[in-house]
Structures are given as structure tokens and as C-alpha cells.
Amino acid sequence: MFTDFDFGVVLTSLPYLFGTGMVFTLTLTALAASGGIILGTIIAMMRLSGITALALPAKIYVNFMRSLPLVLVIFWFYFLVPYIGQWMTGASRPISVGAFTSALVTFTLFEAAFFSEIMRAGIQAIPKGQTAAAQAIGLTYGQTMRTVILPQAFRNMLPLLLTQTIVLFQDTSLVYVISLTDFLGAASKVAQRDGRLVEMYLFAAAVYLVICITASTLVRRLQRRVAIIR
């Protein structure tokens, strides 16, 4: 049966696979990772604030998100976001936001739970003396966080944050459940259309493999470079 393989289909569909599919995948990954890291950092700070009114909701949020399958969250959000939008803006009908916005919001909120755990560990690992030294020169809590604690925590945690981003990169393929076309979705469309399932899925797997292995290698190299000498 292997003699029947025709990898020509891969070649002719390259512009579509990368120009449409991969661009979508990378855009969603980059935006959701940035949003997730920012939101995750805020959640981590809430959890570490020592103020129950902030720490408890943050903790519940993280545990809630981490115990749900991502597919379910994507699905639910797709139907819920219009109503949340309606509730927040006080509009009279559900706000249609489009599948992409819905996916972006979902991934940002979902990943924030994971990024927050990484940032929490990172903040906790900074010695207490750093906070004391920052406060002793008169920095406020906010300034201490922005200029002393978070930059160190972020740098120390960068390898883990990027590793989580690689996971996110793979997870974005789940957007097929709300009919969005990412790289895998594009490959799958071509596969169905031309009846070349094996070729297309082999190729897609190879692309994910190459990208993830390359990224992981770069992260490991970076890890050695960014380590702060103490």
C-alpha cells in the first residue's frame, strides 16, 4: 500500500497549510501566551497577597480551570462568551464575538491558571530579603513587585513559561471543535478533500515534532544563558 503514497499533495498545499493554518496557530499561541502570562501573574500575586478576599477566589479559579478538560472549556466558552459579553456591557442581546475571539479568550483564561502556578513558584523563590531591601529604599509594594521581584521571577521562570507555551502551541489544535482552521485543521481539510489522510497527517505530525523539538532545544540553551548569578 505504501506504493500508493503521493506526497505531491503536501507540496501543492504548502501555501495553504502555512499561510493560513500555521499563521493562525502561531497568532493564537502568541496572543494567548502573552495574555495568559499577564493574567497568570496577576492571579499569582492575588494568591500570595495574604488577603483572603483576593487569595481565595484566585485559588478556586486555578483549581477549577486545572480540573477541566480543555476541549470542554473551549466548547462552553464558545456558547457562553456572547452572554458574558451581554451581561458585562448591559446589551439587550447576546454579543456575537466570533470564534477567534472566543478561542483567544478561552485559551488566555485557561492557560492563565497554569502560568499563575509557574509565576507563583517563581515569586516565592525570591528571597524575602529582596523585598525588605526594596522596601528599605522606599519602594512601594507595586514598585517592589514591578522593578525587583517580578523581573527576577520572570527570568528564573522563563524556561518553564516557554515550555508551557509549547504545550499551548500543541493544544491550539483543539479549536477544531468550534470549526476554526489552525494548522492541523488545514491539513485535515486537505486530507479529506484529496483523500490523502496518511500523507497529510504524517506531514502534520512531522511539522509539530520539528517545531516542538527545536523550541525545546532553544529553551534549554536559554535556560543556561538567563540564569542570574547570585
Binding site: 525588605a132 531591601a133 529604599i137 519602594l139 514598585q143 525587583v148
Partner: protein, 254 residues
């Protein structure tokens, strides 16, 4: 030393009035009262765990207290309306483990507070930072990172960082006890010079040579209490309490 008796020269720079502090059920400070007058150098000593670090950290409110009151230059540290960051900016502090910011270069360590807290322009802060580095003998290291310097050099940078805020008083918490012996001298020299220039200082240290050279008074603590608060000469020549005598004989035996 100046001929004027510092005790008599007006208001205290730091007034610690009958303060107590608990960690949960454990009392770590018990009715401590002492003062530091402008230009005075007060050395705080005592056995490990006696509450020296805790006491000195209450002065700039890094540690809260449950009883008593502290004023710095007349401003109540625990008072409701006190702007703590503003107060802390005027009180320099040097830590046992330096606590330089490892992700910032030496000059950036010296500029951070100047720019963010005092609102100085970058060039101004940079110039002042370089001048202070010169003063502690580290001009050549301004673009290095803390991890590239020796312990003694890092502690001198930490002193310069505290001075960059033009403090009215300086607090030191065992500034030389984390250093290799050969580096203790270079840090003490900077502190001695500072004392001779008239800086008001409260110094937790076991360096009795430093105390003899520049201290006006010595405060001896044990188990959260100030057991002895005496002039330097009285403390070394005729300590009243037995606990201070034992402590002195132990520490001077080295």
C-alpha cells in the same frame, strides 16, 4: 569625637519607646526603650536570637510592633497618617546578606531608588551613583552585576545604595558577619569613615573593635530585652549586668 554630649543635643533622631513584639504566642521584644541622637553611633549587641535584628527592623517598619511607639526624626513610625515608603527612603539600611538586586547592574542598583522614589533625573542619579561608588572604592565596577563581585565589594555597594537616598540615619544589621574574614576590614573602614563624617548610625554587630573606635553607646540585648544601655566606656570597663559580662568575656576571648 565632638565635645558636645550627644545625649544633651536636642531631639533624638530615633526614639524607641517601650516597644514589644510577638511572633504568634512568642514574645521576641519585651519593653525595649532606647534613643539614638543626631550624629550618634549606637552599637547593638547580644547573643544569637536575642532580638537584635528584629529591633533594628522595627525602626523602618520592616517589622511591625504590637506595643509601644517609635519615632524617626519626630515622625511616628506606627502613626496612621505616616507615609511609610517616604519614611523608609530617609532611613538607610544595610543587611547581613547584602541584598543587592542581582538582575540589575551595580550602577542600576544605585539608581533605582533615586529615580523611582526621589524622582531624580537619570543623569543626575547616574552621576551621584558614580560618586558614591568612588567613595566606597568601586568606581571601576559600575557596569558589573552583583554576582560578579566579592562579598566585601557587594556590601560596600549596598552601603552606597543606602547612601544614594541621602538618609538622615543608617541602620546596619550584622553587615560583616556573612563575610570572609579578609573582607571584614574593607567594609568596616567604610562604616568608620561614615561615622566620623557625622552620620547617625544604629549598628548591630559583634565587631567590638568597631564599637571601641566609633561607638558612642552600646546597647546590649538578651531574650528580647535591652539589658544594658550604656556609654561605650561604661559598657567595656564596667558592665553592670552579669549577662553582659559573660557575653563580653566570651566575645573578647576571640
Amino acid at each position: 569625637m565632638s565635645a558636645i554630649d550627644p545625649q544633651a543635643s536636642g531631639k533624638p533622631m530615633i526614639a524607641i519607646d517601650n516597644i514589644s513584639k510577638w511572633y504568634g504566642p512568642v514574645q521576641v521584644l519585651n519593653g525595649c526603650t532606647t534613643q539614638v541622637t543626631k550624629g550618634e553611633v549606637v552599637v547593638v549587641c547580644g547573643p544569637s536570637g536575642s532580638g537584635k535584628s528584629t529591633l533594628i527592623k522595627t525602626v523602618n517598619a520592616l517589622e511591625p510592633i504590637q506595643k509601644g511607639a517609635i519615632t524617626v526624626d519626630g515622625i511616628g513610625v506606627q502613626a496612621k497618617g505616616t507615609n511609610l515608603p517616604k519614611l523608609r527612603a530617609r532611613v538607610g539600611m544595610v543587611f547581613q546578606h547584602f541584598e543587592l538586586f542581582p538582575h540589575l547592574s551595580i550602577i542600576d542598583n544605585l539608581m533605582l531608588g533615586q529615580c523611582k522614589v526621589l524622582g531624580r533625573a537619570k543623569e543626575d542619579a547616574h552621576d551621584r551613583g558614580l560618586k558614591l561608588l568612588g567613595r566606597v572604592g568601586l568606581s571601576a565596577h559600575s557596569h558589573k552585576y552583583p554576582g560578579q563581585l566579592s562579598g566585601g565589594q557587594q556590601q560596600r555597594v549596598a552601603i552606597a545604595r543606602a547612601l544614594s537616598m541621602n538618609p538622615i540615619v543608617m541602620l546596619f544589621d550584622e553587615p560583616t558577619s556573612a563575610l570572609d574574614p579578609e573582607m571584614v576590614g574593607e567594609v568596616l573602614d567604610v562604616m568608620i569613615e561614615l561615622a566620623r563624617e557625622g552620620m547617625t548610625m544604629m549598628v548591630v554587630t559583634h565587631e567590638m573593635g568597631f564599637a571601641r573606635k566609633v561607638a558612642n553607646r552600646v546597647v546590649f540585648m538578651d531574650r528580647g530585652e535591652i539589658v544594658e544601655d550604656a556609654t561605650k566606656d561604661d559598657f567595656f570597663d564596667k558592665p553592670r549586668s552579669e549577662r553582659a559580662q559573660t557575653f563580653l568575656s566570651k566575645i573578647l576571648a576571640h
